[in-house]
Subunit: 479 residues, 2 copies
């Protein structure tokens, strides 16, 4: 009993210290750990298995839209990085530089890719000759490096895993369509698989990607009311094409610049899952993304027949297509419950001698802790139903939380007061000029998250300067 308490007590409550709660869950659910390499983490099996499921599902959705996977080098020669002015300014300060190779100083130093626009441009320059070569819709799964000063597992680390899509098109319109298409792939993925509701919108010029004409984003709200940028899709127009000289012979036999896009989603989504769904018992995984969906936990397993029956149940659930494990370790059932909850496994099936006698088992939902008694023979269908209900309810509950923490401000005073008192999104009108955006960040401490596709007209004037409003903006404190 003392031991059982220890596991739960070992995480700080989220109300007390959300940041510490987050770190505790990462550690106790064994998702990631620290390493001797400052600012870099090790992703442990429980964390990596979530990433594998993210990869599998996202990759499937990409390929449905015609994406092909490739692999480009991890190094970028300095001269290549410098070809696009805004881009180098955005990324050079955080670069890690390789200066020695094979015991000799390099003639030209190379940075470890922070992102691969320049490499894809260099590649496309030779790969694309004619309109017949277009579109190119390539993606790679890899790691990237950004030399951040402050780091946190999954949310911000010097090396992280991601996918980066890079496309080239014959027309500006096609590039814009692809940019929006991929943003919608991300949004649907987050909502349907991760049960995380998102706001789809466009970044302001201040917040857009270095070198992009337009950056689109999906923004989600964490349990503490802070926002997380969860996926971005950039339209480069022909800016990179001009800088790199990527031209194609069109049908009319004239040389034209290509139009490009890029889009990425990262391991930070594991952080989002923790912070959107987790509670004081630990992680809570949406069933569709959970590496283990069901943990079968026998009660009084030393009694004859219990383990056999538990094994039968496990096999039946597996045969029903569920990802299931049996915890037949020597630990007490209570300890096993705590572990299963800490690791966020969506459902446990409890099974003891009395249940078996009655031909039943007890299904316990991780999200609501509701207990459902079901006939052993009907478990596969019942558990599948419960998992679907959990997936749906987790999304709804995240959406309710998000909506309950989304506020509307019509005046500067209102805006300041909400920002001071109520963590969450603030919807407010903006004139579109960067001075106001800068001032709001400086004086109120919130940044523009996005100009949502779903615009509302809260008032006619910018809440900051009072001039005519151009956009409704989501503002918030962000990770």
């Amino acid at each position: 009993m003392a031991k059982e308490k220890k596991l739960v007590e070992s995480i700080t409550s989220m109300e007390e210290d959300f940041a510490q709660w987050y770190t505790d869950v990462v550690k106790k659910a064994e998702l990631a750990g620290y390493t001797s390499v400052k600012g870099c983490m090790v992703i442990k099996p429980a964390g990596y298995a979530i990433w594998e499921n993210i990869q599998k599902e996202l990759d499937r959705r990409f390929k449905e839209t015609g994406v092909e996977n490739v692999y480009l080098p991890m190094f970028i020669p300095e001269s290549l990085l410098q070809k696009e002015k805004d881009h180098v300014e955005g990324f050079a300060p955080e670069a890690a530089w390789v200066t020695i190779g094979g015991s000799e100083p390099l003639q030209e130093r190379m940075c470890v890719r922070p992102t691969s626009e320049t490499l894809f441009c260099d590649f496309y320059k030779n790969d694309i000759q004619s309109y017949r070569d277009l579109p190119r819709v390539y993606n790679q799964w890899c790691s990237v490096v950004r030399w951040e000063k402050t780091t946190r597992p999954f949310l911000r680390s010097r090396e992280f895993l991601w996918q980066e899509g890079h496309t080239a098109h014959a027309t500006a319109r096609e590039a814009e369509e692809r940019t929006i298409q991929m943003l919608n792939v991300y949004a649907d993925f987050c909502e349907e698989e991760l049960a995380i509701p998102v706001i789809r919108g466009r970044k302001t010029d201040k917040e857009k990607f270095a070198g992009a004409e337009a950056t689109y984003t999906i923004e989600s709200l964490m349990h503490d009311g802070k926002a997380l940028q969860s996926g971005t899709s950039h339209n480069f127009g022909d800016g990179f094409a001009k800088a790199f000289g990527i031209q194609f012979a069109d049908k009319d036999n004239t040389l034209k610049n290509v139009y490009q896009t890029s889009w990425g989603m990262t391991t930070r989504m594991i952080g989002a899952i923790i912070m959107v769904h987790g509670d004081n018992s630990g992680l809570k995984l949406p069933p569709r993304i959970a590496p283990t969906q069901v943990m079968v936990i026998p009660i009084r397993q030393q009694q004859e027949g219990v383990l056999e029956k538990a094994n039968e149940v496990k096999e039946a659930l597996a045969a029903g297509g569920l990802r299931v494990k049996l915890d037949d370790s020597e630990k007490s059932p209570g300890w096993k419950f705590s572990e299963q909850e800490m690791r966020g496994i969506p459902v446990r099936v409890e099974l003891g001698p009395k249940d078996i006698e009655a031909g039943n088992a007890v299904i316990v939902r991780r999200d609501t802790r509701e207990k459902i008694t079901a006939a052993i023979g009907e478990l596969p269908e019942k558990v599948a139903e419960v998992l679907e209900a959990i997936q749906k309810d987790m999304f709804e509950s995240a959406r309710e939380h998000r909506d309950a923490h989304t506020y509307t401000a019509a005046t500067k005073e209102e805006f300041k007061q909400i920002a001071d008192e109520k963590p969450g999104f603030i919807k407010a009108m903006w004139c579109g000029c960067q001075e106001c955006e800068d001032a709001i960040k400086e004086e109120v401490g919130v940044t523009s998250r996005c100009m949502p596709f779903a615009q509302e007209e809260i008032s006619d004037t910018c809440i900051w300067c009072g001039r005519p409003a151009k956009h409704m903006v989501y503002w918030g404190k962000a990770y």
Copy 2:
């Protein structure tokens, strides 16, 4: 017609210049390309799709044996790399060093991982406390960097993709068993999926991995008679555990060192597929690993009903679980045939107005060029059968080639003569001392590939020094 010739003519014949033939196939089958980053390649969609299939199948086989995937940092601080003496000597000369991060010189430089033993040791040191934490059977899919002077796509490049498994065990015996188990996973994978026959054996001390007690290897023979090391599995004993201090409290409450293994397979296997199976028409992919298994090519596709029928056939083959594409481009059928052959797609289905009238289609095997007429309604079963036959026949044909190029030498003279005149493996007895091994490499130009598990007794004495023989060894020239 001129155009059609061009595609085939564009590859050098393998008899004329094998190295150039290889490069031509890599280029014309669009597997990989060169980049501005010296010694690094871009893996194009056709090449990467092969790697994805390799990953999928190998990962499935790993997981069946209890392997879990993780991700560790790509950087190794210099002090960490230096902890195991032999290991650092083996890898430091080829390291790429990061010396600047975030615009500032690093206090300690870090190398980009050439392999991750040291990182896993550093991780296991904290992660493993008790016998309950053992075994640890972890693997990661990533890229590694070795600053090679001479590079060739897939076979040897400064950055390549691989998986590296790293395990920790309570006993020396368990570590040895895991080492052999993983070697057998590699061997079975190569033979069953890639249709590449391999010799399983142990490396001599001279050729073993830097820091290993024993290295096991699978060796395959390329079409030109050169050997390719195709996968290795290392038993470290407790050498790394001592260097890094990785200890666990055993059941008897005493502290003991763990025993470790590592094992890896890389994108070089794509090079092996090219060089074992390819011919003067290009690549030849074993059906199980081929991203596209069947190409449907309509004849006289402008005639009414042909494209519709071709589409029906494609859909039927896809419904039958085959990976199939339809080439309905404007190119001539002959050009399409050449492309399908160049890309190594195992089967094409030709379908023209006359075939359709007769209710038939023609299946053409890429490996033998045999044509098989089949009723359209029976295509899914027929093509599946043909693909199975191709898989089996490609393995047999590679094995025959390997066996026909495996020679036995009982004396020094015989050995030298074979090495001079006949490209291939040479089986010969060896006394076990490095002087002979060095002299053979120096004077004959072949290296020891492995001491096969299946030992034969060719004679009693070492072919070089005449002293009593200890091992039968496979010798050869290697990539």
